[in-house]
């Protein structure tokens, strides 16, 4: 903010001070919004294209070259569609819900450092802010489901609420490790703490486990397959947004995808070294290269999401909650201990081995306890 203010001041000294200040505040927000809205549009295209290819289809290929303008066509179509509000719906809440879905998703963007020295707002509690704000989507989800006055919507909303609340816990605990390692809640300091060849937190045993937990929780939080129960189309039609059409539906989609992107951004920031990468410190184009690094890493997360969606079936609601409470929660607690062991170890090697062994034992034990009687091998006889 200050740098931009300085920049404006240098190039345009005649500009009144209040305008320069306002510009300095609004410009980064506008840029971040613009960039991420483009990324959102691109993501819908990439997702449909990639899912198509995974499923031996071509995906969108009619609008523009290789279907690149499909998101625009979709947006226009949804804009012009009739907006239907059920008679029995709670009109005000029904209207507010899609708006409230989008707001937290975009608010999280504020604390994601997209490039070196580029962040909308560098809050000193950045990560906590992101986690806190993303929980607020629960309410929007519930409002949508409840206000629609539809049983499928209500079921979807209750599932969604239970799911987000459950996965919030291991998610925060997985984030704690990172906070312990970096000693700060500010997203920029977390990124800066990951400098070095193997500095990324994901390259450490506790970081890897934390990353996996965090990624799984993020997928659950934004309801991506295999945790897409709130909108499980084969069970409860479209879940909480069953009764939405037109642009309200588009807002739900947008909120969901932007949330997926921002969650990916937070994951990248916390575990994959954010914008760090070779060349990110170059004086001239460092910011560009670092932005490329950030988006490349974000791309990997997004691809994992799409890939999983194209491959795995959905878990059931009790399995989903059991997974969070019985496996992820204890594991993330052990992970904190492992981080402590690492921190107080006499030297790096000992810390590595100790925390790795601790985590391995914990994982094996937890899996044994939980999955012991779940799967069985079947054999079939043939009569002739």
């Amino acid at each position: 903010m200050d740098a931009i203010y300085q920049l404006i001041h240098d190039y345009c000294p005649t500009m009144p001070d209040w305008l320069a200040l306002a510009l300095a505040i609004l410009l980064p927000i506008a840029i971040v919004m613009g960039v991420f809205l483009t990324v959102f549009a691109l993501l819908t295209w990439v997702e449909r294209k990639a899912l198509g290819r995974i499923q031996n289809r071509r995906g969108p290929n009619r609008v523009g070259p290789v279907g690149l303008f499909q998101p625009i066509a979709d947006g226009l179509k949804l804009l012009t569609k009739e907006d239907i509000v059920p008679n029995a719906a709670d009109k005000v809440v029904h209207f507010l819900a899609p708006v409230l879905v989008v707001v937290p998703a975009f608010m999280v963007l504020a604390v994601v450092p997209v490039a070196k020295g580029f962040i909308a707002v560098d809050l000193n509690i950045g990560v906590l802010f992101a986690l806190a704000v993303s929980t607020a989507s629960v309410l929007a989800l519930f409002m949508a489901g409840w206000a629609s006055h539809n049983k499928f919507s209500l079921l979807g909303a209750m599932r969604g609420v239970a799911q987000v609340v459950s996965y919030e816990v291991p998610m925060v605990l997985a984030a704690v490790v990172v906070l312990m390692a970096s000693g700060s809640l500010s997203s920029v300091s977390i990124v800066e703490a990951q400098r070095g060849l193997t500095g990324w937190f994901v390259c450490k045993p506790w970081g890897l486990v934390g990353f996996v937990i965090f990624q799984l929780c993020a997928m659950a939080e934004v309801a991506r397959t295999p945790f897409d129960l709130p909108e499980a189309e084969s069970e409860i039609v479209a879940g909480y947004h069953t009764e939405y059409s037109g642009f309200k539906f588009a807002l739900f989609q947008m909120g969901e995808y932007v949330a997926a992107i921002t969650m990916g951004g937070i994951t990248v920031t916390m575990f994959l070294g954010g914008y760090l990468g070779p060349g990110c410190d170059l004086p001239k184009f460092g910011w560009l290269i670092s932005a490329c690094w950030f988006f490349a890493k974000l791309g990997i997360i997004v691809v994992i999401n799409i890939w999983a969606r194209g491959t795995w079936p959905r878990v059931r609601v009790d399995q989903l909650l059991g997974f969070a409470w019985k496996l992820l929660l204890p594991l993330s607690l052990v992970n904190i201990v492992a981080m402590a062991v690492w921190h107080f170890a006499p030297n790096k090697l000992v810390g590595w081995v100790e925390s790795a062994v601790l985590l391995a034992v914990a994982i094996v034990a937890l899996v044994k306890i939980n999955a012991g009687q779940t799967f069985e091998k079947r054999s079939y006889r043939f009569t002739s």
């Binding site: 499923q55 890939w307 491959t311």
Partner: protein, 321 residues
């Protein structure tokens, strides 16, 4: 079970990744990307593929193969075919349809009409682009649209058409005389409701009795001594041909014709479809058999075994065999 938890899920990822990548390097397109991008690329339809029926003509549309025998109309499962034979001013059948309508919104493309046609006149087309804006008129095909040349038939189904050409007997058909006056179409004589019912294929909704087709010409005649008028049929329908209906079996037909001449009896034994499979119309075949100019009693294809047996019996009784 897999020894390592999660192996199954990883395996799945490998499969989808393989599909993703190979879909871009797909030599034989049908191995991976199996959809056709329809308006631009079209599947080569196999020769047997069938959509809606059409009528074949040789040379000019006048020389249509159809003899209006109504076999297809009888056999059509959803009853979407409607045929009226053309007759001259004296009511003599001209062995060609005046009205031949197929309601393709009812047609289920089963191809049974083409299978049962004794004259190879009706065949199945390959044209599937038949969507239209209206539900009724636009989807009702009349004779002019249905008629397609034998060349077209060769073009879409060459092997089958060649096979048909080889087995077809040349049919002697009188050149079509100029029609005396235009035959009313159903649109002219049915009420609005009945017309829509007919177009929907709901024959049962039309009136109560069977449709008499062509409709008798009715004139108003003054009854002597009164002021009232009476409806009198001007030209009664040609009698003497017991109406063939799959509801009337051969025994009943013979009963109807028992006091008539040999030729009439012979004709009653036939399927009376004027299909020309024998080379005559039914009346002509009956006359030929009765006069002895033709002694082959096996020519009536639509009548099948029972007609053959009955013809043989009648001819034997009359001492013609």
């Amino acid at each position: 079970m897999s020894n390592l938890l999660g192996k199954g899920m990883i395996d799945g990822l490998v499969v989808t990744a393989k599909n993703f990548v190979t879909s871009y390097f797909d030599g034989n397109r049908k191995d991976r990307l199996f959809t056709y991008q329809y308006p631009e690329e079209r599947m080569k339809l196999p020769e047997n593929s069938r959509t809606f029926p059409f009528l074949v003509y040789d040379g000019t549309p006048d020389q249509m193969r159809c003899t209006a025998c109504k076999v297809c109309e009888t056999e059509c499962p959803p009853q979407c075919i409607y045929i009226v034979m053309e007759r001259d001013a004296n009511g003599k059948p001209l062995l060609r349809p005046r009205v031949f309508d197929i309601d393709i919104s009812v047609c289920m493309q089963c191809g049974i009409c083409a299978e049962v046609c004794p004259t190879n006149a009706i065949k199945m087309d390959c044209d599937f682009e038949r969507s239209a804006h209206g539900r009724f008129e636009t989807l009702l095909s009349h004779l002019p649209e249905l008629l397609k040349s034998n060349d077209y038939y060769h073009q879409i189904k060459s092997a089958e058409a060649t096979r048909v050409d080889a087995t077809r007997k040349p049919v002697k058909k009188a050149a079509a005389p100029a029609p005396v006056k235009p035959m009313p179409t159903p649109a002219d004589i049915l009420t609005e409701d009945e017309r829509s019912a007919w177009q929907r294929g709901c024959q049962s909704e039309i009136g109560t009795g069977p449709i008499v087709w062509p409709p008798p010409v009715v004139v108003k005649k003054k009854v002597a001594g009164t002021n009232t008028e009476q409806n009198v049929s001007a030209a009664p329908l040609p009698t003497g041909t017991p109406w063939h209906d799959s509801g009337i079996d051969i025994a009943a037909r013979m009963e109807l014709a028992k006091d008539r001449s040999l030729a009439d009896k012979l004709m009653a034994a036939m399927a009376q479809l004027d299909c020309q499979a024998c080379g005559y119309d039914c009346r002509g075949y009956a006359d030929a058999l009765a006069s002895g100019t033709n002694s082959d009693f096996t020519l009536c294809t639509p009548g099948e075994e029972e007609t053959k047996n009955m013809l043989e019996k009648l001819l034997k009784e009359a001492g013609k065999l």
